[in-house]
Symmetry: D2
Subunit: 349 residues, 4 copies
Amino acid sequence: MSDHIRAAIIGSTGYGGVELFRLLASHPYVEVTAVISSSAAGTLFSEGYPHLTGIYAGVLEDVNPAAIKEKADVVFLATPPGVAAKLAPELLETGLKVIDLSGDYRLKSPALYEQWYKKQPADEAYLKQAVFGLAEVYGERVKGASFISNPGCYVTATTLGLYPAVKEGFIDPDTIIIDAKSGVSGAGRGVSLGNHYSEVNENLKAYKLNQHQHIPEIEMILSDAAERPVVTTFSTHLIPMTRGIMSTMYATVQGGRNAADFIELYRSFYEGRPFVRVRDEGILPATKEVWGSNYCDIGFAVDPRTGRATIVSVIDNLVKGAAGQAVQNLNLMMGWDETLGLRFVPVYP
Amino acid sequence: MSDHIRAAIIGSTGYGGVELFRLLASHPYVEVTAVISSSAAGTLFSEGYPHLTGIYAGVLEDVNPAAIKEKADVVFLATPPGVAAKLAPELLETGLKVIDLSGDYRLKSPALYEQWYKKQPADEAYLKQAVFGLAEVYGERVKGASFISNPGCYVTATTLGLYPAVKEGFIDPDTIIIDAKSGVSGAGRGVSLGNHYSEVNENLKAYKLNQHQHIPEIEMILSDAAERPVVTTFSTHLIPMTRGIMSTMYATVQGGRNAADFIELYRSFYEGRPFVRVRDEGILPATKEVWGSNYCDIGFAVDPRTGRATIVSVIDNLVKGAAGQAVQNLNLMMGWDETLGLRFVPVYP
Amino acid sequence: MSDHIRAAIIGSTGYGGVELFRLLASHPYVEVTAVISSSAAGTLFSEGYPHLTGIYAGVLEDVNPAAIKEKADVVFLATPPGVAAKLAPELLETGLKVIDLSGDYRLKSPALYEQWYKKQPADEAYLKQAVFGLAEVYGERVKGASFISNPGCYVTATTLGLYPAVKEGFIDPDTIIIDAKSGVSGAGRGVSLGNHYSEVNENLKAYKLNQHQHIPEIEMILSDAAERPVVTTFSTHLIPMTRGIMSTMYATVQGGRNAADFIELYRSFYEGRPFVRVRDEGILPATKEVWGSNYCDIGFAVDPRTGRATIVSVIDNLVKGAAGQAVQNLNLMMGWDETLGLRFVPVYP
Amino acid sequence: MSDHIRAAIIGSTGYGGVELFRLLASHPYVEVTAVISSSAAGTLFSEGYPHLTGIYAGVLEDVNPAAIKEKADVVFLATPPGVAAKLAPELLETGLKVIDLSGDYRLKSPALYEQWYKKQPADEAYLKQAVFGLAEVYGERVKGASFISNPGCYVTATTLGLYPAVKEGFIDPDTIIIDAKSGVSGAGRGVSLGNHYSEVNENLKAYKLNQHQHIPEIEMILSDAAERPVVTTFSTHLIPMTRGIMSTMYATVQGGRNAADFIELYRSFYEGRPFVRVRDEGILPATKEVWGSNYCDIGFAVDPRTGRATIVSVIDNLVKGAAGQAVQNLNLMMGWDETLGLRFVPVYP
């Protein structure tokens, strides 16, 4: 168990990459030794991100696995769909540890990947090797692993909110409806009419109903919890804010459980895991209460009139939904305290 | 059928009242002759609302039914809960027509009102007299009526989106889940920590799960459509925007209908009603597309994997959800074209 | 003086063009007979702008001056820089009246245009013919004209706020500093990192200090008022909002005038012009108070400690700063009441 | 020089207080031992600020100087105007170090305080004792002091942007005009119509022109730099965002200096002071580039046409403008590295 590691970030012109840099820069055991972007190689990192002026003076490097191996022990991939499928094997073969933030290694079935991502899947051997890093559920598998597939942002908020209830039979898995809502940064820094300020501000849109590529990932985890195939309704909405995801989830309660029962179950399930905070009865979390932090906050309402539970789960999509959970997974891989570099208070207001 | 009418607005310091003023000021057949506020009587209307500088030079008047009767033919009540319960009978007795935008006359059962509003219900005789003004559903009853109870904002978006499907058996009424989302103006102009800019901006909150006072109103209409009691799950969320409501609604499809079937049904049901726009298959409406206008736009997705329909319905909460529908009801009451004073293009962007 | 006119809009995929459509659609004397876009010809107008669903069923047409002449009496050009320079002469030669919303005909000096716009200037003969349509200052010249160059958005807010004071010697023209602030829609619908939601939201930027192409246009008007060359400091800032411009303007007071003197001067200067509203002493206008309307609201502060006046002027950049003033100019050209089609209350909140 | 200190925060229900808590919670040498609020004593800190759930389990305490002395070595006062005037002397007499974030000890003249704050000034002996903590200008005086008056947010952005230029005669101090712009959190958490979301969103307001209580504080510092009395024009604007201040400052250049000269001067003046970042020529800072951090970023434009310099200075009003500078002052007082607890990357986006 080392207490120093050198890290490289590939894909550092995107929001996931720059958020990784922010978090790793404060991590006591990590030194960022290479910031890599194939599209902007040769330019100053702070040119595209002036908030880094005086903080990181280095130039963005091109992707070169052998050269990275010279400089780094672990590589974070914050790349667009399809890039990690090709790149991760090369990096792993040099002996680097790899944490992939893209969707390329999340689904274990190549056919499913192709169906939902419309891209060439990764090699099946590597798909099997990649440990799915939903830290509070599969954390034991992460420990000691050298290749992590970091979960999606919607997936993290949703499955942390549903897993215990499905596993313990508190809800009927066939009745799950997930109404998810995300800030705009989840769609990345690429420009499009869909993230033009004048189109998003003072507007609310639903998109990709029943078609979002995170659906099979959610169903994979819920099926694991239920120990049988689970199919869900999953909707996504674009909220006029930069950061934050809320999943409002509905399901029919089994066994007459009430809100207090849910709270007790979740507190027990997540005991000792500092980043999941289960709210008291009658209190629902808001996205701003986790803003800039690695927390996932969960609240419950159970309605005796309808027999349904409503579960509300919130995260910061760029932290617990991406870079923060990646750092948490690094901590687990290395055998460190999982909160290292992540012990900050949410920024409020 | 007159083509000129004098109107008074009571409660004109709130957002509903000032929006009524905006709309009535452009109505070709209406003259606003009195703008009334018990709390701010004696001050200039434009003092509290400087955007009215040079547009309305008058002073806010106190509430006096007899004096109003001298000046006006119809009164709009945009008052807080409980006020119209007392005031409407007095106004009606002078012979004035009354359109109440508050919730006081919407529920026909005094007990239900008391349960959800925690206030003294209105007199039952007047509850019976008040016609529920969901214009596209109950418009025939509105024609010629002299006392209208204008529906709630969440209720309008939700029930226009569900009524045809429930009535025609396209969905199972026992499976309806409504995930509603509103801009901040829906909560009025009263100040509170809940609408402080720094608390709302860059934030997303769920509130009043299963407890919103619009629930019995929605169930009243859906039960009417289903011709049997319907109970629903209804959640509300506060979106960081000023105007707009979206209801995302889920239900199990019956009879194997697909999205095209829903679209056909809704276009047929709302034929000749210019303010409901049913979108083409694959297209979902956004709130900005109805901003500032009286439209209710509806879109559909049907998922063969789950057998569920998702219906998305959007309105401007202050127009179709309040002042606009009130003007539409006035038009219907008077036997005018229902679009008078409401034929404007949504403001975009 | 006709009371019916057919209008075509060229450049209708931009925000200026679609706002023209919104205003003209409510104008009692105007019929929009052609909506034209070279880049999107052949597609439905409502495809790119779904808020027009059910309002305008037509297809976008290609640019063809002869065909336009068949259908229209007046053409509005809401095109990118450089397009009107070529297109306006062709349109004028067919006998069409032309109102150009771009900057191509505003500066009377081709050299100045080339210097600030870095583009080929328009033909000098047409530059001379184009009447500069700052309606409250040069309205008399607009009457009866057939070719109008509509002023820029920053220019309108700024010069309506400064013209009377400069003309009457209330301020020293050599001391004028203009700190201007604009919502994002002013930069148009084209996508760029600069208008990406996540980059603009919760952010405030200064840009193009001393280099904005509206500077020579402002100085042209102020020099006209001063009857000698005036040079100004002009800064622009991007505000996280969609609509609205505020110019905060500073200058040294001459002749010991106080705020009341300024108010009296401006009320007298703009007497009979309904779209300029001069606020009472101690009251400053906010952009939301003119939102969606053609008003320009102006307020004053004079500081005896420094001997300087601060003048605050606000407009909606897409209305008084573009489409609204264009409609106002049409009204003036046609000899109609200048408020036709523009008599609506600002949308608040 | 101790490397451990116990801190109490008074006024912890306001945004300044809760931001102090956020920063101190990550400070390696500081332990927060008391969180105090006279208005909310006895309630959980996390009740009013749910983002602190699981982070701080303590109850808010009442104000009791003797009890505080038992628990703490230093007290931060984040209290409304007038409170510190009474409280600081009592705290100092117990031997506590005091850092006051309010305006009560900033102006050294009681008469000036009374004139601008309309409140009873603090005792003159304590006014003299309080060291004005503009860290990059008066940091030497802060070292070893036991009573610090922390500067205002507008003051910090403005004077860090002007001090070197005034001191070195680069600009004429008689020509300084400051156009300042602030996010909403600067006005605190108290509810009012002025910070109601629907009134602020999509709006831009100027307020308190020439009357802001930060004016004498700015002039005090600039007069110190100029070594003669300086009077300025200072305007404030409310921007629809939560955090961030920008001061856009105008003045006539002396000695023919250009932008490069300014940059060289400022880099030299702030050498070794890590929280001031002077931008390269042609680049202006945006508020988001310092969001959540203690940086003050400064950029320049010099216009040969007008002979004026424009200086743009940005800070996060709650960090460098309040809590962050207070922590920086604590570090200086204690003889620690001034960046302790403040070495985090701005949060972007």
